[in-house]
């Protein structure tokens, strides 16, 4: 195949893949700013005429949406705190020390990602009921932490790999203990990367629906609430579009902000 032909093929493939991902997002966004009456009309204009916040307003006024949003934010905050507190030290250890079982540990982290959460659902619910964690925000945060940890550990590992050990050693020769060297040198340098890990965790928790649905009843997080509204109560179209849009936006913005760190996830930098 000639060079221009190959490039054209590449461009078409990329365009198709991008459309595959982007088209639904665009359609959802457009629909959530279309007036309710038009959503049910046929044929429906592609662009809202006129643009209207009516659909979004309807969604926010629906029962449970605001408390659930608050729940989601609280769960996300707890998840971030827990997963950074547990994951960052693990990532640091993986980046700095060669210890027996290091490779097995690394593989083990990834292996947990392959375990289907569905199988855990019933035992987890039973255990949480027994421990009094069922239908609490803490319970959801614990599960989200478990889901986020592999990513947190891998991301923080790559972040700390980017901080040369010699910097910490230099600090130690200048009067720091190991801990002081970490706090005064490694931590400030790693902070942007750790923030990226935290933000990633936020997205994960914000969008997680499965565990949130089975582990809560009244204290629903937003995805669990919407899932229930759509599945069990048969929410109208405008509610679905608005909810979808509202949940996508934070994730999109955040991924845009941290894409550099995601690309260095495996220690390989793509620029």
């Amino acid at each position: 195949m000639s060079r221009p032909a190959r490039q054209a093929l590449l461009a078409v493939t990329v365009a198709l893949l991008a459309a595959w991902v982007l088209l639904p997002l665009v359609l959802i966004a457009l629909a959530s700013f279309t007036p309710r009456s038009q959503l049910y009309a046929w044929p429906r204009p592609l662009l809202p005429q006129p643009w209207s916040a009516e659909t979004m307003r309807f969604f926010f006024q629906a029962q449970g949406v605001l408390p659930s949003t608050l729940n989601s934010l609280l769960v996300a905050a707890l998840t971030i705190a827990l997963s950074v507190a547990i994951g960052a030290p693990a990532g640091y250890a993986l980046s700095r020390f060669r210890f027996p079982g290091r490779e097995a540990f690394r593989l083990g982290i990834l292996a947990t990602k392959m375990f289907p959460a569905t199988i855990l659902a019933v035992p987890l619910a039973v255990a949480f009921i027994r421990w009094g964690l069922y239908d609490t925000l803490w319970g959801v945060a614990f599960v989200h932490t478990a889901l986020a940890l592999p990513f947190t550990i891998i991301i923080t590992m790559s972040v700390f790999l980017g901080v040369p050990l010699e910097l910490e050693e230099a600090a130690m020769t200048l009067g720091c203990s190991r801990l002081q060297a970490f706090r005064r040198v490694a931590l400030p340098i790693a902070l942007p990367g750790l923030a990226a890990a935290a933000i990633f965790t936020f997205v994960l928790s914000w969008n997680e629906v499965f565990a949130a649905t089975i582990l809560t009843l009244r204290n629903r997080t937003l995805p669990a609430l919407v899932m229930n509204a759509v599945g069990a109560a048969g929410a109208p179209l405008d509610y679905r579009f608005a909810a979808g849009f509202f949940m996508i936006v934070p994730a999109l913005i955040i991924i845009l902000l941290i894409r550099r760190y995601l690309l260095t996830l495996w220690g390989v930098t793509v620029r």
């Binding site: 230099a170 020769t173 200048l174 009067g175 340098i189």
Partner: protein, 360 residues
């Protein structure tokens, strides 16, 4: 300032013995260079001194105190790293002040010492900058200033010049020597560059495979290497080695090389004889274009002008020799020349072990 003593220090990484039973004493204010090829353990010795590595056996003394189990922070050392290890998230001022602040010096004193140190290294105009805004040479100066303002008992430097370009390295080398003259900290300097070692060291410890092979003044290490390794490592180009035979002739001892006899009286034990290695430095060989008495015939391979002199490569009975000659010297490739070795400058070594023969 302080003396340093390493007593039978040993350090292993897995099954690799990085430092093998090294003992070394360094005097107060001395400039000691650890020289050796990569992987010889010189950096590990330095890191054991700094406290960045725990020794597996042996003791480390600084200023007469046993610091073997002390963390780096307690040892009153300062270290300059090969990568400089300048903190990227701090200004030059904060970098240099880092150690002083760790010692909780009052701010006014910190400022004064930082400014002094910066002036000494001519970076006082850069104090407000971040490392990313500096050149490699400037970062290097920050790293040295950061170490020197600590007024350490011992200053440790790990290949500090190896990341600089050639011209800058030459300039910085002279400056480090001047600095040592001013601050007189006991200094241990690691390098694989023998020119650096010869120019900076008051003494040089040549290392190989985790052991110190020879520890002496630069002149003695250069002139009287203890073995073939040291002779072949130091010098640019290094010492030449030729197979030779040592024998008694009448009442004299001579060494015969390529059919020519060179007197060796008093340079080897009286009873020594047999196969030896003859070591001779390129600048101690005279070249003649005509046959001369006791001249060793050789064939010219190549002649390279290297500025103030020329480097002549010749072949003698299958062995290749490097000879330095004056710039006026001319010889075509393939032509014949005759070599004369300065008898006072030859170094004889055991052909089997490569160890220099003791003088008689």
């Amino acid at each position: 300032m302080a003396t340093i003593k390493l007593q039978r220090v040993r350090k292993q990484f897995g099954r690799v013995v990085a430092v093998d039973d090294v003992s070394l004493e360094i005097g107060d204010g001395e400039f000691m260079v650890l020289l050796g090829p990569s992987g010889c353990g010189k950096t590990t010795v330095l890191r054991c001194l700094a406290g960045l590595e725990r020794v597996d056996a042996g003791r480390v003394y600084i200023g007469g105190r046993d610091v073997t189990d002390w963390p780096p922070a307690r040892r009153e050392i300062a270290m300059v790293f090969q990568s400089y290890a300048v903190f990227p998230h701090m200004t030059v001022f904060d970098n240099i002040a880092f150690g002083l602040r760790m010692r909780r010096l009052p701010a006014a004193q910190v400022r004064q010492r930082v400014e002094e140190g910066a002036a000494l290294l001519q970076i006082d105009h850069l104090l407000g900058r971040y490392p990313a805004q500096l050149s490699g040479g400037q970062r290097q100066r920050v790293a040295v200033a950061r170490a020197i303002v600590m007024r350490p008992q011992v200053l440790l430097m790990d290949e500090p010049l190896s990341n600089l370009d050639a011209l800058l390295r030459l300039q910085m080398r002279a400056e480090l020597k001047r600095l040592h003259g001013e601050v007189r900290s006991t200094t241990v300097y690691v390098t694989h560059d023998q020119v650096e070692a010869l120019s900076l060291g008051e003494r040089i410890a040549v290392m190989k495979d985790g052991r110190i092979v020879q520890c002496d003044t630069p002149a003695r290490v250069y002139d009287t290497p203890v073995n073939q390794f040291v002779g072949g490592f130091i010098g640019n180009p290094p010492m030449n080695f030729l197979e030779a035979v040592l024998r008694r002739e009448e009442s004299r001892q001579v060494v015969e090389v390529a059919g020519v006899r060179i007197p060796a009286d008093g340079r080897v034990p009286a009873d020594a004889s047999g196969a030896v290695l003859l070591g001779i430095r390129p600048e101690h060989i005279a070249v003649a274009l005509q046959p001369v008495q006791d001249g060793i015939p050789a064939r010219v391979l190549v002649l390279e002008p290297v500025g103030p002199q020329q480097l002549l490569t010749v072949e003698v009975g299958g062995a290749v020799l490097k000879v330095t000659t004056a710039v006026e010297f001319h010889a075509a490739g393939g032509s014949r020349v005759w070599l004369r070795f300065d008898p006072a400058r030859i170094r004889l070594m055991d052909a089997r072990t490569g160890q220099a023969l003791p003088s008689g």
